[in-house]
């Protein structure tokens, strides 16, 4: 007998009661009791005069889609979970959202959805339009079905370093999941960065809300990782709310600038200011959680950011290599072409004098190399010859 059939044998009240006694919690960010969440939806639907319903989805902020595996492994189970919640609420409105990147998975869940009378929509959850509905994580729906089938096991879904998704006890420590944990620089767990100390934390404490744990190695640059994660969030954001749309843009821009050697000292404070404001100024997880990526990164790995900004160094060796660009004093003709094209205005020189690059301001864009007909501008990670330290006429420089 399927979970839904088991539930349907009971009255609505009995189903609600059973959900309550099961102590099942919402799997999404707000870990409240599912029974309470359902009751709240009823109240909200009355207050807002909106149709009562059940909406299941991933977090809007989830750009990985790892937890979709729960749905794809057993679409019928998730649909039944949705249907049980809807039965408990006494509504026919049942919706499942698939993120846009998983649009191709619609066909795979279609049959199960039709059987359970669940409407499948591709796109982000519009939390404003969903007022009056109980918003459930897809995993919650699966757990609910398991509860009524009598086979629900407590646990947390994790996939470590892109490995297989498995359900493990919430008491499991991060270090127990992977051997790489020892000696790691840190971790990216869910939507947050953690330092190496997280190895000894339990899954209960670290909340891998999207099911993802990544162990960060010395060769992983936090700034670059953060920038990529923010860019993915920007691409996914619907862009309707100011803080999410513009905040993510600014956060991503600052990390991008930092990775390219144009970081500014004030970026750290600005990242904190915008990130903190975003967390509680956006109505859905898209803004609330995406900002945590940046916030936790600057909090836990401030020194990496500072190294990028102040020393123009990437500790992981990812962002800018150790290469420098210099002008060979023997080859320079003093034509000035390089100074003209330099966007940072860091090439000093005048006609017929040997030109010099101010290394501090140079961001190694390489435009001067292309501009130099004499082939005098050289990029190297090797040894740099002795260079003039003041303006010297072409041909007059001596080692």
């Amino acid at each position: 007998m399927s979970a839904l059939e088991c539930a349907m044998k009971l009255s609505r009240e009995e189903v609600l009661e059973q959900i309550k006694t099961s102590g099942l919690k919402e799997y999404g960010l707000e870990k409240e009791l599912l029974s309470e969440r359902l009751v709240r939806a009823v109240e909200e639907s009355k207050e807002e005069e909106k149709e009562l319903g059940v909406v299941a989805a991933l977090n809007n902020a989830d750009t990985t889609g790892v937890l979709l595996e729960v749905l794809l492994a057993d679409p019928q189970k998730v649909m039944e979970g949705i249907a049980i919640a809807a039965y408990a609420l006494g509504t026919e409105k049942k919706v499942l959202y698939l993120p846009e990147y998983a649009a191709d998975k619609e066909a795979a869940v279609k049959e199960a959805a039709e059987q359970a009378g669940v409407e499948v929509i591709v796109g982000l959850v519009n939390v404003r339009a969903c007022k009056g509905s109980a918003l459930l994580h897809i995993v919650t729906a699966a757990d609910l079905a398991d509860t009524f089938a009598g086979c629900c096991e407590d646990g947390v879904y994790v996939s470590v370093n892109g490995g297989e998704l498995k359900k493990v006890s919430a008491e499991t420590k991060v270090s127990e999941l992977t051997e790489d944990a020892a000696g790691a620089k840190g971790f990216c767990i869910g939507y947050e960065y953690y330092g190496p100390e997280a190895a000894e934390m339990t899954l209960e404490e670290v909340h891998p809300d999207n099911g993802v744990i990544r162990v960060l190695k010395a060769s992983d640059c936090i700034v670059s990782e953060t920038e990529k994660a923010l860019l993915a969030s920007r691409k996914q954001s619907c862009g309707k709310c100011v803080f999410c749309r513009e905040g993510l843009l600014q956060l991503q821009y600052m990390q991008k600038e930092t990775t390219e050697g144009r970081g500014k000292a004030e970026f750290l404070d600005l990242t904190k200011e915008i990130g903190e404001a975003m967390t509680y100024s956006t109505p859905c997880t898209m803004g609330q959680v995406s900002s945590k990526i940046a916030l936790s990164a600057v909090e836990k790995f401030e020194s990496e950011f500072t190294a990028h900004i102040k020393k123009k160094k990437c500790p992981a060796g990812v962002c800018f290599s150790e290469e420098v660009i210099y002008i060979d004093p023997k080859l320079c003709q003093g034509c000035g072409e390089c100074a003209d094209v330099c966007p940072k205005d860091c090439i000093e020189g005048k006609a017929k004098y040997i030109h010099m690059i101010d290394e501090f301001d140079c961001d190694q864009c390489g435009k001067c190399i292309e501009a130099c007909d004499a082939g005098a501008i050289i990029k190297t990670s090797g040894k740099v010859p002795k260079l003039p330290n003041r303006l010297t006429k072409v041909g007059r420089f001596k080692r």
Binding site: E47, I274, A277
Partner: protein, 704 residues
């Protein structure tokens, strides 16, 4: 009810009302941008954040529901910081320079910047790089200025149900637009203008907007263009709903001849109709005609205003549209009104100028009867030579004698036998008198009256009819349909001609013409005509009809000061219709020259109001006849709306109409009328939308 406290002010408000509205209604300003009174709360801009005691963090007041005992703060340092940051972020994607924006000075965002004073220079600014969309009729889009408040999207979807504007995303830039960036017309936009109305910035704007008139007038140009300001969108809406009595009552609130106007109004409203920018103008006159034709009078017959008798006596001289109108409204104000008409029936130019094939005489009689039944005493065949003498018997006199004397151009041959004048000809034809025309006619003139002459001559049996005028074809003053219909009836139209001379010894033998090369006016408005050399040509004729204007049939002997074109001089054409003699007023064509029936009606209304005041009344001649109309703002979707074509009236073929005076234009048919009325953009709905509430409007800020 709930008692809430906002910044120390205790307010009693309905439970669950949104706190932002509670504050604004109570005169407490909270900055807001995405919120609009008529739209559902969104809470995306974060300008209206407040703190509630006992709750953590800031929350948007537009989405916050008032609960009893709530204590709310709107101005804490944390809130101001958040608000500044929100606005700072909002502005990163908005052009920095306000001074080049067409919305400068009327922009809600600009006032917010002034109020909040966000930090500048810290964040990355960007230009969104959208191409301003100027290919749509009526509405301009410049998404570079958009701050994504989403008001237009909500207005289009929730308020109107049209669902054309949606959030779209291109790469990582969110913007508002149609699906696949279709042109509005192809996306089935209904051009109601709600999006323009609610846009707080210069993003969605009116393409054409007459900035010289009041906003309501510019938004609903048909109503403004109508000299009598008939409420066009309101009666069109009634017609669409099949409520013809109500529609006719709306028209009757402003004019006493809905039916006659339905047949012959020069419909200046249609020239201004915004629908013409989308496809073709509304057929406003024919909609009016349909309503008037199907009116049973349930809303106005025996109803409407009739004030108690005042004991004052007014004599109106001349029973044309101006005189009839003035007499009607003066009677309604309680005065004893006598209308004296020189000709055997009332109607003025409606009866003696406009041919009966355009306006059947029964209609004039029917509508004049309403005026008579209101208590106006009508004396026909009574010509008044000395208006001042009437003042012995009457407290006021109104001269509405129109312009019934044709103009004879002072040119060679103009006094020959066979030369007749428009006014005489049309009057004689109307009365069934001998008109004196022969078989070959030349009409000189290019206005509607000239065509009335030519087409009347046709119907009287003339064999060959030519019409010549100075103006080029495209600037002839006659209506386009008059010209084409005349041509269909076999009348030869010769535009751009100079009239050199009328030939003949003692009787007309024809007219010499030359072609006009160019016809312009100099800075003193004098005509400059350049003729084409060697283009002299001759058209044979035995009759020439001058149709080059009419003048009032009055001389100095009447005792009134006369001015240009023999018109009676009044102090101010619109505002003060007092003539040179105290107690005598004048209105209609006699003061401003030949215009239109609707102009005459309005002039008559103005005169009635002024005379009522002169006689001690309040001058308020307005009346309410039509039932209250609750125009539904939710207009819904209508596929193909923009492409819907104007429904044409049924017109008899030339062979069937050209030899008789029967009505040949039968208006729009029953099966088309609802669709035609449904084409209306309903521009007036926009006026229902609440205006912005800016900080400068709030007293606490004014004092500051």
């Amino acid at each position: 009810m709930a008692v809430i406290t906002i910044d120390g002010t205790r307010l009693e408000v309905p439970e669950n009302k949104n706190v932002l509205e509670c504050a604004l209604d109570a005169g407490i300003y909270i900055p807001h941008l995405c919120h609009h009174k008529d739209l559902s709360p969104l809470g995306s801009c974060r300008m209206c954040v407040v703190e509630v005691e006992g709750q953590e963090g800031a929350t948007t007041s537009c989405t916050l529901k008032a609960k009893d005992g709530m204590v709310i703060h709107t101005k804490t340092p944390e809130l101001e910081k958040l608000r500044m940051l929100a606005l700072e972020l909002l502005l990163t994607g908005h052009p920095e320079d306000c001074s080049t924006c067409p919305k400068y000075g009327n922009c809600e965002l600009q006032t917010l910047i002034q109020y909040i004073g966000p930090k500048t220079g810290r964040l990355k600014m960007r230009t969104k790089g959208f191409r301003p969309q100027e290919d749509n009729p009526l509405i301009l889009h410049d998404m570079n200025r958009c701050v994504l408040c989403g008001r237009c999207v909500r207005a289009c979807n929730e308020l109107r149900g049209v669902k054309v504007l949606q959030y779209q995303k291109k790469e990582m830039e969110t913007y508002v637009g149609t699906l696949h960036n279709k042109l509005l017309k192809d996306a089935d936009c209904r051009f109601c203008g709600a999006c323009v109305e609610v846009c707080p910035t210069g993003t969605i704007r009116d393409k054409l907007m007459n900035s010289e008139v009041k906003k309501e007038e510019a938004v609903v140009p048909c109503r403004h263009a109508c000299p009598a300001h008939t409420d066009v969108p309101r009666y069109i809406r009634h017609v669409k709903n099949g409520e013809f009595d109500a529609a006719a009552a709306v028209i009757r609130e402003k004019v006493p001849f809905p039916k006659a106007l339905g047949y012959i109004c020069n419909h200046v409203c249609e020239l201004e109709c915004k629908r013409k920018e989308v496809s073709e103008a509304m057929s406003i006159r024919n909609i009016k005609r349909y309503a008037a034709d199907h009116d049973t009078g349930s809303y106005w017959k025996g109803k409407g205003k009739q004030l108690a008798d005042t004991g004052k006596k007014v004599c109106v001289v001349g029973a044309g549209p101006a005189g009839l109108t003035a007499a009607y409204y003066l009677r309604k104000q309680g005065h004893d009104v006598t209308l004296k008409e020189a000709l055997p029936t009332v109607g003025g130019m409606m009866a003696y100028g406009i041919p009966s094939y355009r306006l059947p005489r029964e209609i004039i009689a029917e509508e004049a009867k309403v005026i008579e039944e209101q208590g106006v005493k009508i004396e026909v065949n009574t010509k008044v030579e000395k208006p001042a003498e009437l003042l012995k018997e009457y407290d006021a006199v109104l001269m509405t004698i129109g312009g019934h004397k044709g103009v004879r151009l002072p040119m060679e041959g103009s006094e020959l036998d066979g030369v007749i004048l428009n006014a005489d000809f049309l009057r004689n034809a109307s009365m069934g008198n001998e008109t004196g025309i022969g078989k070959r006619i030349i009409v000189l003139g290019g206005g509607n009256v000239a065509f009335d002459c030519a087409r009347t001559a046709k119907r009287l049996g003339a064999e060959e009819i030519h019409l010549a005028c100075l103006e080029a074809r495209d600037v002839m003053t006659a209506d386009e349909e008059e010209i084409t219909q005349a041509q269909e009836e076999g009348i030869f139209v010769h535009p751009a001609q100079t009239f050199e001379r009328i030939t003949g010894e003692d009787h007309v033998t024809g007219v010499d013409f030359m072609n006009v090369k160019s016809f312009t006016f100099d800075e003193n408005r004098r005509a400059i005509i350049e003729k084409e050399e060697g283009s002299e040509h001759h058209i044979d004729a035995d009759t020439v009809i001058f149709a080059v204007g009419q003048r009032p049939d009055i001389t100095e002997e009447a005792g009134l000061e006369l001015g240009r074109g023999n018109s009676i001089v009044v102090k101010d054409m619109e505002k003060d219709k007092t003539t040179s003699v105290e107690g005598i007023f004048a209105a209609g064509d006699v003061i401003y020259g030949t215009k239109s029936v609707i102009m005459a009606i309005e002039s008559g209304r103005e005169a009635a109001s002024q005379i009522d005041k002169y006689l001690g009344g309040d001058g308020d001649i307005s009346e309410k006849l039509a039932p209250e109309q609750n125009a539904d703002p939710y207009i819904g979707q209508c596929p193909g709306f923009g492409y819907e074509e104007r429904k044409e009236p049924q017109i008899d073929e030339a062979e069937k109409r050209q030899d008789n005076f029967n009505l040949f234009d039968h208006g729009i048919c029953d099966s088309d009328i609802c669709a035609e009325a449904g084409r209306c953009l309903q521009c007036d709905l926009r006026l229902q939308i609440s205006g912005p509430r800016l900080w400068g409007d709030f007293t606490e800020n004014k004092e500051a």
